[in-house]
């Protein structure tokens, strides 16, 4: 255990590397994320940002380096992995709701089967969560009957149902029509305000500047720049960040 024990660190990554065949997606990422911090990751596609947050809950296995989440190191030990996964909520670009289950069953599935909550308790919690994400009346519907924005909010509620300590967002608004982006960002804003530790990949600059504590800029598998949002978006230091921002702004 050479990784320093920093009581305030929720996620610590040291020299994390990841290959897909001969392609190196992550070339040594080191970063520490504090409890309650909201970190926004930006970068061009193929920069490794998505791969990186997927290593945090082990949807991708890192090949080198170490990752410690809430004091538990990610190893091949499947029990550790399942324990850590249940502490980390993840929201995907394409929602990935379970189409054969109602909204209610989507949300209660993991609490009932992993946490072993009795049904009434899980359903009461679900009602609260749907209230919180602003769609209390949709519990009995199937995902396909909801709009994209509503589906993504259900996905957030589903992740929150496990009472996670960390929430990962992998481009949560990229697949949404413009008029639905705000309703999802509003939920995320509220979540950040409640003190949740969040790692968010997004191109929503306004959201990043308002809610983010720190921006990580990824390019070519490297963490190129790290700065507070205002500083990063107004005066990026690296050439690559300048180029990237000139393309998306």
């Amino acid at each position: 255990m050479t990784v320093q024990r920093d009581d305030d660190a929720m996620i610590t990554a040291r020299d994390v590397e990841k290959w897909f065949g001969h392609f190196q997606a992550l070339k040594g990422i080191s970063v520490s994320i504090r409890r309650g911090e909201v970190v926004v990751i930006v970068g061009p596609s193929g920069s490794g940002k998505s791969t990186f947050i997927r290593t945090i809950n082990r949807l991708e296995r890192h090949d080198k380096g170490r990752i410690v989440v809430d004091g538990i190191e990610l190893t091949d030990d499947i029990r550790n992995i399942e324990r850590i996964r249940s502490e980390i909520g993840m929201v995907f670009q394409t929602f990935n709701l379970f189409p054969h289950l109602t909204v209610l069953d989507n949300i209660t599935l993991a609490p009932r089967n992993v946490r072993r909550w009795p049904r009434p308790e899980a359903e009461a919690k679900t009602a609260q969560l749907l209230e919180r994400v602003g769609i209390p009346e949709q519990a009995r519907k199937y995902p396909a009957q909801l709009s994209g924005g509503q589906q993504q909010r259900v996905a957030i509620a589903r992740a929150l149902a496990m009472e996670p300590k960390i929430m990962l967002f992998d481009e949560p608004t990229s697949a949404l029509d413009p008029e639905m982006i705000k309703e999802v960002l509003d939920v995320m804003r509220e979540l950040a305000g409640s003190g949740m530790t969040m790692v968010v990949i997004t191109h929503e600059i306004g959201f990043a500047r308002e809610v983010g504590d720190r921006v990580l800029f990824f390019d070519g598998g490297l963490l190129v720049e790290e700065a507070p949002p205002d500083a990063f978006f107004t005066q990026p230091k690296s050439e690559r960040a300048k180029l990237f921002l000139s393309q998306i702004l």
Binding site: E82, R85, T94, N96, L109
Partner: protein
């Protein structure tokens, strides 16, 4: 057909429209008979010729069929053998067992059907059913001379009608008891048909085909599921084993497997361990069917997007739970059409038992057609066999369409 929307679709459109301003698009008035004929049958001179030629052909075939069934045919061969067609050499004194099973199944099927098809039948549906019922009744009266059998058939029909109505009234409340009854029914039926001195060797006719088909379907479904999951296993030993079984079995004709079961399997078993012929045949048939079920399930699993597995894993669900709660329900729903198709094949393929000298329906029909006293009546002997196979297979197909409709396959 007429240009009007189906009633329920129309209702659902109107039901969805909450604001009165929404208008249903005006539908074309239904075509008159003359318009319909002109548009669909005589739209060009070539289509007109086709219509006339096909019409003459169909009319001729229809005439010959009616002529054969009601005039030329001598149904005495069927009258003499009807019992064998249905139950083979099942002992006469014990026939009450078969009737008990039939009553039990009639009630079970009726209730399930009432539950699955909630809307009351249309006038056309009722008429069709009345016609089918009358035809069945007529055939029974014409072919069976026993008053007791008439009575039993009448009681069964009445029970069926009552069960359908009961199922419709009860709705989903009965779902669980009915499911349990279905699961328990097969062992019960086997026990009822075989306890005492009636062995499996006395089963025959359609009864044998049905028992074999149901046994093979009930056994090969779980086995095929396991093979499909094993094939996807990350343990090489498990996946190679499953791939090996599937590919070997699929590469061999069913009849070969059945003959293997009859003559070779016994040599591979430890001495002293023997099984009835029928058990061995069903065992080999089950292996065969499992390989196909496995491939159907594999296809269904491939249709489940990777994101579903990722979402389940991200929630902390174990591999097993991910499979059982997330992947399989979606995969199996998508495999209902090919799965039912396969099960229909299984039922039809039970006629291969005839080649192993089991007195199944095909065997019985062939033997009847070869009997000395009915020389020249081959058609009368064989056609009813084919017709019985068709009735069962067609019913299975109709049922699967209903189940698909209920589960919304292809929607959501």
């Amino acid at each position: 057909m007429s240009g009007a929307l189906p009633e329920d679709l129309e209702r659902s459109i109107v039901g969805v429209a909450e604001e009165p301003a929404v208008q249903v698009a005006p539908t074309r008035p239904p075509l008159t008979l003359g318009e319909w004929v002109h548009r669909n049958l005589f739209s060009s001179w070539f289509n007109g010729v086709l219509t006339v030629v096909t019409g003459i052909l169909l009319a001729y075939l229809g005439f010959r069929l009616v002529q054969f069934v009601f005039v030329t045919a001598d149904w005495s061969v069927l009258r003499a053998n009807l019992r064998s067609y249905m139950v083979g050499r099942f002992p006469n004194d014990e026939i009450w067992r078969v009737w008990t099973v039939a009553f039990f199944l009639v009630v079970l099927v009726g209730i399930s059907r009432g539950m699955l098809v909630p809307p009351p039948p249309t006038r056309r549906g009722l008429l069709l059913r009345a016609l089918m019922g009358a035809a069945a009744l007529g055939a029974t009266l014409a072919l069976v001379e026993s008053f007791v059998v008439w009575l039993l058939v009448a009681v069964a029909s009445a029970l069926y009608a009552a069960a359908v109505v009961g199922g419709r009234l009860a709705g989903r409340r009965l779902a669980r008891p009915i499911l349990v009854a279905w699961l328990a029914s097969f062992p019960l039926i086997i026990a009822l048909l075989s306890f005492g001195d009636v062995g499996a060797d006395r089963w025959g006719g359609l009864l044998l085909n049905l028992i074999a088909a149901i046994a093979v379907i009930a056994l090969s479904f779980p086995l095929g599921l396991l093979l499909a999951l094993g094939r996807r296993s990350s343990l090489p030993a498990v996946s190679w084993f499953c791939v090996g079984i599937i590919e070997v079995i699929r590469g061999v004709p069913l009849l070969t497997l059945l003959i293997f079961g009859r003559f070779v399997l016994i040599l591979l078993l430890p001495p002293g361990l023997t099984f009835a012929q029928l058990v061995r045949a069903i065992f080999m048939f089950t292996l065969f069917s499992s390989a196909y079920v496995a491939e159907i399930v594999r296809g269904g699993l491939q249709g489940v997007p990777e994101g579903q597995y990722e979402a389940a894993r991200a929630l902390g669900l174990s591999t097993t739970r991910t499979m059982v709660l997330v992947a399989l329900p979606q995969a199996l729903r998508n495999t209902i059409p090919p799965m039912i198709g396969h099960f229909i094949s299984v039922f039809k393929d039970t006629s291969l038992l005839a080649a192993l000298s089991f007195s199944d329906l095909l065997f019985t029909a062939r033997r009847a057609s070869q009997a000395f006293e009915f020389v020249g009546d081959q058609a009368e002997a064989l056609l009813p066999g084919a017709f019985l196979f068709w009735i069962v297979a067609f019913s299975m197909s109709r049922w699967s369409q209903r189940v698909e409709g209920r589960l919304g396959v292809g929607q959501r």
